[in-house]
Amino acid sequence: MIVKEFRELLRDRRTLGLLVGLPLILLVIFGYAANFYVDHVSAAVVGPQAAQVAASLPDFFEVETVDADATEADARDLLRDDEVDVAVVTTGGGTPTALIDGSNLFAAQSILGAVNATAGKIEPEVLYNPDLTTAWVMVPAIIGLILTFIGTIVTSIGLVREREAGTLEQLAVMPIKPGTVILGKIAPYFLLAAIDMAVVTVLGMLLFDVPFNGNVLVFALGAAIFLFAVLGIGVFISTISQTAGQAIQSAFFVLLPQILLSGMIFPLDAMAAGVRWIGYILPLTYFTKISQGVMLRGAGIDSLWPSFVVLTVMAVVIFTAATLRFRRDLAPERKARA
């Protein structure tokens, strides 16, 4: 029995990968990424005394902008556009004020500690999340996680079920265009994910008082692009899985890094560079930037466009590659012989 089990296991590469690879992945991720402490933050110093104040800031603050002519409004724009974590506004003679981006929770907590350590030389003011409430930051990220869950696991299972039942073969023989089949299979999941997203967003606002400061259409556009990316991942998983169990295993490998390395739980800035780059190739990283930006900071396309561009490129590449693979299953005349 034991020998039989080992033989089966050795031929089941996915389970083997899960058993051998997962502990290694978890060790690396938690070793290098599981860090809530942010040891440096990006800063801007504006106002008449910008140069002097910038020079007096501890090394914790990596000053990227020093502009004596800039105003408080300019500083707030820098924060809203997520260009810096903190903007110190100096005046002619008063105490400088550190405007802190509360949507970047762990960085904000570290900044608050550093500012308080100046013993009143700088006054802190937390924007977008004044009480540094965890839920305010998590809910926009959770929305992305839910979309990821539906897009990858639920969609891949739905598609693999056709293969398992043999009905995919039936569809391939029917006079339905492959594009129509793909659209018909994906549209319900897209719609359900969109409804889920709306429900979670509204519930988050009602239950946790999470603000929605930005434009709903910008948020919806970001969610739609993100959905295409995660649906593409789901379709791709379905093309490399023969059973629902295999699809779930594969989806797990995709979901885990998104949860741990997208900046949703552990701040990207606090991760070791060797692990952080993984976060930057995950769609959820960019959707989280968009959802937090729109909901908490009221950011628009003009400030979130880099995330939109990256996410769009990801969505196009992933969705196109996945649907082409799926299409091959439906149009066997064009596929290479097995």
Partner: protein, 281 residues
Amino acid sequence: MTAHGAGMPFGVEDVSVTFGDTTALRAVTVEVPAGTVVAVVGGDGAGKTTLLRTLVREVSPDAGNVSAPAKAELGFLPASSGSWAALTVAQNLDFAAGAYGLTGAARDERRTELLAAADLTAAKDRLASQLSGGMRRKLGFLMAIVHRPRLVVLDEPSTGVDPVSRIDLWRLIAQEAASGAAVIMSTTYLDEAERAGHLVVLDGGEVLVQGSYDEVRATFSGTVTSAPTPVREEWSWRRGHDRHEYWPDDDAPADREVVAPDLEDIVIALSLVRRLAGVSA
């Protein structure tokens, strides 16, 4: 791939299919004339499913020609259930009808007609997953013919189906051929295959023999004997309590009882000849 000309039978001509190092079909030629049921028989791995999948363009041949109608005129029942488990009988039929462009009153009329013919009217609101194996295969068959295709391709429609449902299925298949469709089906039930107008016996991807049952019997040479113990184990097979034995050169010992071979004997004997080529009979 060749276009199908008017009046020409559907089928494959000199078709070979390989999957990696495995030859699934080797120079196979089969015609499926309109109004005829062609039964493809053979053991596991004989190439039955590959032949049918080649006809419905699920598999591209390495060589040879395929003559089949466009998808809109093709009906296919795969070896799987052929229906969606979470849809009702009527919903499955409606979906298939819609896929072939049959909608509205025409679809409703066709659904009613088919359900009545298959004795599934009472089950029209049941989920396909709640049907018996036989009922589900009948549903799959109805979905394959809902659009009145010119070519009907059925992959083991009666496998795992109880004897009564098999009779029902065969009646439906025969009716479809009688209405003018060209029907090709694979089966592991040789008694069922005997009823077909044309038989194709496959083994190892090659056609061993084909023709009507009478033609197949007439062209069969050699002798089949029956005895409790065979003279040559490798040339024998169990039939009931006895073992039948094939003598390709008609050189059976005089003390052996000679029996008239049925289709099962013929298929096994021809397969043995192919597999034991070179072995002294």
